[in-house]
Symmetry: C2
Subunit: 123 residues, 2 copies
DNA sequence: TCTAGTGTATTATTTATATAGTACACTAGA
DNA sequence: TCTAGTGTACTATATAAATAATACACTAGA
């Protein structure tokens, strides 16, 4: 499972993103149990402490909750999960636009650039 | 100048990106002298060694070249600089599409999403 | 009641970055 | 020739992140 990682972002942050993605595409549903710290650390081939840190942060963001002795679960608050997808999308879009502008593109050409790029990729 | 930095990317990489951007928007032209290691480290409020590492990597990527005792300069090879913008744009676009897909969007809606987002932001 | 599976805590060590301070080599120009 | 401004090298230290190993507390279910 190691390939989900890149070189320069802390692994615990990458694990958080990995789980958030699984939530927004409904691989993980509200109330679902996350893999245990030990199990996920084995699957991802990372230290249990690293997974634990990711889980701690996810709980701090109220995306998950913990029942001691039982496990960590995706929050039941659907509102929260709906917001999560919106926020992640907004962050990606905002970041993309800002980055493209910083290398000399203007806002009004971005949609067309995306459209052309995708069309070419299909060929 | 510190605000160009974020929390989780090594500073030397952020400096590299910062300079690449200045090159592709022609703030820095082919043959232009970059700020000296000491000067830039003072402006950015980072250690000279950190700037030096960024400069080393830029030279390794053949975006700059060095004349000992004189300074570090943007490459004269315009072809190289033209490719740089193309590559940076391609990386941003590819990454954006891949990330959006990973949270449940499909390629064909992305251009429209961008267009709508930009339009709303103007209001 | 016991046990296996949970989260959690603690201490030590390693690695990549970043900093700090110093020194050396080269170049242009006064 | 000297000096100020270049890049470069080196050693030491600090910090965040990741690892390693171990232990403790809680819960459900046999």
């Amino acid at each position: 499972m190691k390939p989900i990682f890149n070189d320069h972002t802390p692994i615990y942050l990458q694990i958080m993103t990995h789980i958030k993605k699984q939530i927004v595409v409904h691989i993980l549903q509200p109330g679902d149990k996350l893999p245990s710290v030990r199990e996920l650390s084995k699957n991802l081939e990372v230290n249990p402490n690293t997974v634990q840190r990711a889980y701690q942060e996810l709980e701090r963001e109220e995306i998950t909750y913990t029942q001691r002795g039982m496990g960590t679960f995706v929050t039941d608050i659907e509102e929260k999960l709906h917001m999560l997808k919106k926020e992640m999308a907004k962050d990606l879009i905002t970041n993309f636009i800002q980055q493209m502008k910083s290398i000399g593109f203007v806002e009004d050409e971005l949609a067309e650039i995306i459209a052309v790029f995708i069309k070419k990729n299909k060929e």
